[in-house]
Amino acid sequence: MTVKGKYLRIALGIVVIGALIIVPMNFNRYGLYILSQWAVMTIAAMGLNLTLGYAGQVSLAQGAFVGIGAYAAAIMTTQGMPLIAALSVAVVLCFAIGWILGYPALRVQHHYLAFVTLAFSTLAFLVFRNEDWLTKGIYGISNIPRPNVMGFATNRPLPFYYFCLGSLGIVSLAMWWLIRSPWGRAFIALRENPVRALSLGIDTRRYTLMAFAIGSALGGVAGTLYAPLTQYIDPVPFNLSLSLDLLMMVIVGGSGFFFGPFLGAMIAVLLPEWLRFTQGYYLMLYAVAVMLLLIYSPTGILGILDRYLAARRTKAASALRAVTKSKLETAS
């Protein structure tokens, strides 16, 4: 069963990756834009999933880190610097700020922590809007160039989509490694029971700060892709509602599940497009769907799948026990 399940999963993975590469080939400009946006938002949501889903630290500032990354990319690439330089700056900057933002989490938790991060989110927005000399304020930064990746220009939508998809692939591999490493286990311990974690020698302070810093750095990575995607940025997309959107992606997809952000970002980015025919009702439908989902499964969509699989495993295990027992009885 487990071997079969493993092959099934690998096959499914190949099909999905293949589809993500092949199907968009006939998409129009807009379709590719939406898919690229999905890849970018998935990266940001993965960062938040690490901070919130695995390590259990509430953050309402992920959108601000996307903004920091986007502004780093916009400012540097319009000055003629390569995107990779902007990426390094964004990652280092977001990591450092995320680390500092983690300090309040050592003292306050849950909704109190949410408020601290919310204040930071507002602060970042004000910097984007008011520091004209750096960010050009409400006029925004336009003509953001798209990068050349290993000699390939990504000006056209399809190559740029592949660039985003490739970045998502690299981030996913790194995240997968992190989650299954002892660090991932320590993050879960931090979420489930910090007191016990501490008594097992886990330096909860350092891991909390790390969870914030790495999660924020991924927000920065998403931002560095966002700027060349839209090729124009102003402060508006990076206000609190982006942080809330990202939070919703994580929760709806399944907080603390590896594939949660992929699913959550898909719903948040693609569903509005599919529901476009409902016109003005789309937000209402969307809101109702989210409420119903969270009542039915507070652990998101992957939570439903997880429950189903757990139930099947239990059934299989008890069937096995019953068989063993009856065998023992016939033997005696």
């Binding site: 660090w183 489930e192 016990r196």
Partner: protein, 247 residues
């Protein structure tokens, strides 16, 4: 023999209440010291002061001759001091094996090697040994939350030994465990004590368990040390009888 743990004149008050009021004792290497006393006499507070969970108002704690008062629990743990809690503290969503690996991983390598090294921090074999030792073999891949209470209690105890500790403080290891498993637990603890020379301090209300497991028993009442001696001496001590049975 040398003292693994030296506690001198520990005091802890919460507001006007003196939960622990000047307790001093030593624990020798390889010893199993029982700590008994009526509810609310300050046993768990004393544990928490020794383990860095609470900062004592006054007094000093030494482990292997080194002053450790005020160190954080994680730092103490890495010095070889481990504990279990009165209430169950396993990680319910992780498997039994993962729980044990988690309990030992911070004793392996450094932050970098734990990020870049193998996912199990090289502890699968040690964890499986521990699983075998505590007779949890058939449960290695089960989520800890799905185990029976007694099995979780065994896992909880096993986790305390993953880091190869010198000193283990067990807070009511027998609470709520059925008789068969209690025998198992006692046998396992005695075996670890003998084979690994691990030193124990055990809080417990189950008198039979304490008296048969421990080499020395210490009795607390109202935040103070009331008596200390072999199980037989303590059982015969009139002050102890009075504290337990009332006036």
């Amino acid at each position: 023999m040398s003292a693994v743990l030296e506690v001198s004149d520990i005091k802890k008050s919460f507001g006007g209440i003196k939960a622990v009021d000047g307790v001093s004792f030593d624990v020798q290497e390889g010893e199993i010291l029982g700590l008994i006393g009526p509810n609310g006499c300050g046993k768990s507070t004393l544990f928490n002061c020794i383990l860095g969970q609470l900062m004592p108002t006054d007094g000093e704690v030494k482990v292997d001759g080194k002053v450790v008062t005020g160190l954080r629990p994680s730092e103490l743990n890495r010095l070889g001091v481990s504990r279990t809690f009165q209430l169950l503290q396993v990680f319910p969503k992780l498997s039994v094996r993962e729980n044990l690996i988690l309990a030992g991983q911070e004793h392996q390598g450094n932050m970098m090697s734990r990020l870049l090294g193998p996912s199990d921090a090289g502890l699968t074999a040690t964890a499986d040994q521990m699983i075998g030792f505590f007779k949890l073999d058939h449960l290695a891949t089960e989520a800890a939350g799905g185990l029976s209470y007694g099995q979780q209690k065994l896992l909880d105890a096993a986790m305390a030994f993953m880091g190869g500790p010198r000193l283990v403080l067990l807070d009511e290891p027998a609470g709520g465990v059925n008789l068969t498993m209690l025998g198992d637990l006692k046998e396992r603890l005695t075996a670890i004590n003998r084979e690994k020379r691990a030193t124990f301090v055990v809080i417990e209300h189950n008198m039979e368990f304490v008296m048969s497991l421990c080499t020395r028993v210490m009795v607390m009442a109202e935040g103070k040390l009331l008596a200390m001696g072999t199980p037989a001496e303590v059982r015969a001590n009139p002050a102890v009888i009075e504290a337990y049975l009332g006036h």
